[in-house]
């Protein structure tokens, strides 16, 4: 099967650079899949889980905000953070989720926009981490 080159780059260094069969990513307009020889494509990425398949094995990653570019059979993700589902500390993510939910509830009362946006982003990240970890376990 034809393969596509996947690259995930974060500010703290490249996470993956590998030939894979298919990539599924959380685009802003919804999840999208990319196979080999996809047409040139540019999309923003929201916090969520990215998955790719190689040698009949599917791997999951948590990614947060950035964008992706597909050109000449290569897909590049530029994201602020990326973690393998297997590396995620679920307990910590759970705690972060609870914390974010609490803060969100408080911020709603005070109607503080910035804090709310921050808490929401933190909640999204925690949820994405938990999901990526759960998917990796299966």
């Amino acid at each position: 099967m034809a393969q596509i080159h996947l690259e995930v780059v974060t500010p703290s260094g490249p996470v993956i650079s590998d030939e894979v069969d298919i990539v599924t990513a959380p685009g802003v307009g919804g999840e999208f899949g990319v196979l080999a020889n996809h047409a040139p494509f540019l999309s923003t990425i929201k916090t969520g889980t990215l998955s790719f398949k190689k040698d009949k094995q599917t791997k999951y990653l948590m990614v947060s905000g950035g964008f992706s570019e597909v050109s000449s059979n290569k897909i590049t993700f530029l994201v602020e953070s990326a973690e393998y589902g297997t590396d995620i500390d679920v307990d910590r993510a759970m705690r972060a989720k609870e914390r974010a939910e609490k803060r969100l509830a408080q911020a709603q009362q005070a109607a503080e926009q910035i804090n709310r946006a921050r808490a929401e982003a933190a909640l999204q990240r925690a949820l994405a981490r938990i999901k990526a970890a759960e998917l990796s376990k299966q």
Binding site: T10, F32, S43, L78
Partner: protein
């Protein structure tokens, strides 16, 4: 001639100082390695980002993205990035004087200037100026992206709400272990990145075929704040590496100065000792002469 004991105590004191400066030099060089690794790791991200910005921003000149809005400049905000700690030679002073000169220039043009400082040394330098709007201390050691995000959100808010019409960034750029220079960059409004002929050509051939999701303008809306983060983060890690490099040099100089001082003091000590012995001998000889009578 100073007393023997005084000189000896001084030698001991200086040699203890030199032990400390030597240790600090080694710590700084170890930390520099870490900071340089961070810089290396960040480079591919920054390069790819700049590339994407080049490809996208070309056709955006006429658009009304808030971060690219060019207004008449009445108020300038200067973001000054220095280290948290001193003992690194003139590194921080160079940055703050550059920022000060910039401030004087803008004020001479009749513009209002405010400061945002990152790192304790910058806060210390501008605390009394009355122009310090916000400060971020004790975040230089960790270099987390979310710190950079916090800062860029802060300055974005000021810019979008019209409190500032231009944002400049002053930081210490890491050229090499021996050379770090203050650098001034314009942060906001974000200018379309000039890619030269090559990029324009590439754009002609490639961009037409690109599928955008969502529309390019909307992508830019997401990308521009991220780009700002990248620039602030970049300044932070540059300053981090520069700080350790500057400290290494400063501590090396200090250790050498200590060595010179010890040499000088040892000479002085020997001279004093010789003088004491000579004095004693003279006494003995004088005594013997007197006995001979």
């Amino acid at each position: 001639m100073p007393g023997l004991k005084d000189v000896k105590t001084k030698i001991e004191g200086v040699s203890k100082t030199s032990q400390i400066t030597k240790a600090m030099n080694m710590v700084a060089s170890a930390k520099l390695r870490g900071a340089q690794e961070k810089m290396e790791a960040f480079r591919p991200y920054a390069e790819k980002f700049a590339e994407a910005m080049r490809d996208l921003s070309g056709g955006m000149e006429g658009s009304n993205l808030p971060l690219m809005e060019v207004r008449e400049v009445k108020a300038v905000e200067i973001v000054v990035v220095t280290s948290d700690r001193g003992l690194c030679g003139s590194f921080n002073t160079n940055i703050t004087t550059t920022a000060e000169k910039l401030m004087q220039k803008y004020e001479a043009e009749g513009k209002k200037v405010t400061f945002v400082t990152v790192g304790k040394k910058a806060a210390q330098a501008f605390r009394r100026s009355g122009k310090l709007r916000s400060q971020y201390n004790d975040i230089m050691g960790t270099f987390q992206m979310f710190n950079a995000r916090e800062i860029s959100q802060d300055i974005t808010q000021q810019f979008v709400s019209g409190e500032s019409d231009q944002v400049d960034l002053v930081y210490g750029k890491f050229h090499s272990v021996a050379v770090q220079k203050p650098e001034v960059e314009e942060l906001l409004p974000i200018k379309p990145v000039e890619g030269g002929e090559e990029a324009a050509e590439k754009k002609e051939t490639v961009t037409g075929a690109y599928i955008y999701e969502p529309e390019p303008e909307e992508i830019m809306e997401v990308l521009l704040p991220l780009y700002l983060n990248v620039q602030v983060y970049h300044a932070m890690i540059e300053v981090g590496a520069s700080e350790h490099a500057a400290r290494m040099t400063a501590m090396d100089n200090a250790t050498n100065a200590c060595k010179d001082m010890i040499d000088e003091l040892t000479q002085l000590y020997n001279k004093a000792r010789q003088a004491a012995i000579t004095g004693e001998l003279m006494d003995i000889v004088g005594g013997a002469e007197a006995l001979k009578g």
